[in-house]
Symmetry: C2
Subunit: 422 residues, 2 copies
């Protein structure tokens, strides 16, 4: 009978240590010339539901949007503007109504929202980007919207962006906001982000929104390129294969206060920090999964290609049977194995597959050499009792690897989603 | 404001009317020279867990197996035998242990099972096919297996196959068995089937097994061809895109008692009946979905290609958000729409999409012309209160259409799967 291989203590870290030292308070308001507001305006029954990020001196912006074939009305609008120009002064977001699939009225309402805000702030409507998140197919009620925008504008502050982070939430249970400070060429650079997103994310992503602001002057083309790469490495690892809602939007804005030489090294340093802050947001979205009780990293290594690693990681991360087993703290590696096989990778040698469950409590190897190991079930249960779990899969074939993030699925997910609309 | 279009009464039928008249009792035992047994033998704590279908005069067999890259030990074994020969005398199935990923012992155990049964029945081990279903990666305990097989053989009956249908069950809550009689060229032809399968089926199919027996003499090659087509049209509509467990097996056996001219028309008639009986089994599997409270047909029509129709139907049928909305009896067509967009079909004109919810209580059109309709929520709730629901999607583009079957997802699904292994 095969024996337990070994037990090692491995720490699962969600925030890169390098970054933790750099975290500063205030969110967007840690950056000069960024004003923020969030108020209740009636899109939701209660709670804040209208958010504004205002750049009095303007900001260069780039955006990445959903690949869903059904696009919310705001997506078409924002994409067009971002193609035509680089500088904007405001991003306004409402939560509670997705303004999706609302016919001509949907398009008209985006314009009305932009015009109403522009009018209030004495800026041009084309300097405003609009985002919406919430229920699909319900026409927007813009009655007295000018008064609501007046209230929003009246509440602008440069103290902390937390009220905006709160106002973009839908079924989120946690406010997602982070700001970091670091140096490039000895100059202080800032990055701040807020995000919303809960839903099961994967395979049916609820709407995800994230806004990121920096003060580093890079130009729209570079901002877009860096944002795309950061999204690929972070948000796309929780929203897989185009499994996106009609409203998903990520916007990166720069106030352009800080200039550095655009050397490869400097750009790379900024890219790393940008990816890290996006990763924090992505992981907070997963950790806030509707009804989720555990944060799960699915790590696949030893794959013969990145696409095999990705396919397997995503299949395991989306498996309802794996997610329920994790919820039940059951080291049911057979379901992980089955999901690996379902992914139908180009190369797979079952006799080389190793599957480990890892948490702060230790790690346990469950199978190897084409068969299960006689592991300590009590220890496995203890390992899986932690809130952060890694499912570690070694295919033993090549050097390609990937990690994606997901959460478990609980009865609460069903309860939350069985009557979300009403 | 757009208005309700119309309300029509539509009946959702799960059993083709043509077939209902032909249903006869007895399962496999309605066919001559088929003996069946099912007993408890210790693979499960209690309940029957060992099934035998015995053909004393032999049967021609063909099989269709999982596409999962991880294959149970029995699959390799059965595939090899079915490639080498056409005639068999027995199919033995154990439930409770999948005999998957058990290394060399797993392969050896399949042989031991076949040899033990062959010894008892005084037939050749190569005349036995073996299937297993249950937990993955737990070595089989074949202690005293000869005594268990003796018990199994002692219980053989030609009265009714219900005990075998019961013995192949795992998390199933209903026995799945049907037999039909019909005529070809005035001669009486029979088809009988049993099946097991529950699990969410889709997207993470629990193991599915089905055995179908006929008395029509067709030859192995034709049996295989007809079985493949029937599986494509039925079981593959609930087990989509290779989302199969390592153990899925469907075997068609013929006692060859009845001969008819192998005209195109006769073959087609048999194909239709075979597909219908497979459809009944497939739909019973979905209806028995773990924790499911509703049987859901996702019908997509008006697609510009079959692959677009299929992609959309499967995306909607696998959407956890759609499944929870159906459970909540919430006509949340926005989630259906979002899933349509997620499927990223080649052609989609949002303004042409119509989404209806249909049940015995009526039908309600929820959106049209690129926007939601102001439908009667009370009626929608009443329609969705039925146990059988159709989500009817008209893309308004072409003539391709498909229907796939799924179930809702409830808290009970989570409970059942959170501790299945222990």
């Amino acid at each position: 009978m095969p024996q337990i291989d070994h037990v090692t203590i491995t720490t699962v870290e969600r925030t890169p240590t390098s970054l933790e030292k750099q975290i500063i308070p205030g969110g967007f308001c840690a950056i000069d010339n960024v004003w923020v507001s969030g108020v209740h305006s009636g899109f939701k029954h209660r709670n804040k539901d209208l958010a504004l990020i205002y750049f009095p001196k303007g900001a260069t912006m780039a955006g990445v949007f959903t690949k869903n074939a059904i696009e919310s009305h705001h997506i078409k609008y924002d994409k067009k503007l971002l193609n035509e120009q680089a500088t904007f002064k405001a991003i306004m977001t409402n939560s509670g109504n997705a303004n999706t699939f609302n016919g001509e009225k949907g398009d008209a309402d985006v314009k009305i929202m932009a015009e109403t805000l522009a009018n209030k702030l004495a800026i041009h409507p084309d300097e405003v980007l609009i985002c919406s998140t919430g229920v699909i197919g319900v026409p927007m009620d813009l009655t007295n919207f000018d008064k609501k925008v007046a209230h929003l504008s009246h509440n602008l502050t440069d103290g902390d962006s937390i009220q905006a982070a709160e106002a973009i939430m839908t079924t989120d249970t946690t406010i997602k906001q982070k700001a970091i400070a670091f140096e490039i060429e000895g100059k202080p650079v800032h990055l701040a982000a807020i995000a919303k997103g809960s839903g099961m994310i994967h395979p049916n992503m609820g709407t995800m929104l994230s806004y990121i602001v920096t003060d580093l002057d890079l130009g729209q083309a570079t901002l877009l390129q860096l944002l795309k790469e950061a999204v690929r490495q972070t948000f796309n690892k929780i929203s897989v294969d185009g499994d996106t809602s009609p409203n998903d939007s990520v916007i990166l804005a720069s106030t352009n206060k800080i200039s550095v030489n655009p050397t490869k090294q400097n750009i790379l340093l900024f890219q790393e920090r940008l990816t890290e802050i996006c990763q924090m947001m992505a992981q907070e979205i997963v950790a806030d999964g509707e009804g989720a009780s555990k944060f799960v990293t699915v790590s696949v290594k030893g794959a013969s290609s990145l696409s095999d690693a990705e396919g397997i990681a995503k299949q395991v991360a989306t498996s309802s049977l794996v997610k329920t087993a994790i919820y039940g703290q059951d080291a049911n590696w057979g379901r992980v194995l089955s999901a690996i096989g379902q992914a139908q990778p180009n190369y797979l040698d079952p006799s080389k597959i190793k599957i480990q469950f890892i948490s702060k409590k230790g790690s346990i190897l469950t199978c190897k050499g084409g068969q299960g190991l006689d592991f300590d079930e009590a220890l496995a249960f203890e390992i899986l009792s932690e809130k952060e779990i890694t499912i570690d899969i070694d295919l033993g074939l090549g050097k390609s690897q990937i990690a994606v993030w997901t959460c478990d699925i609980t009865e609460d997910y069903i309860k939350i989603n069985a009557d979300y609309r009403s």
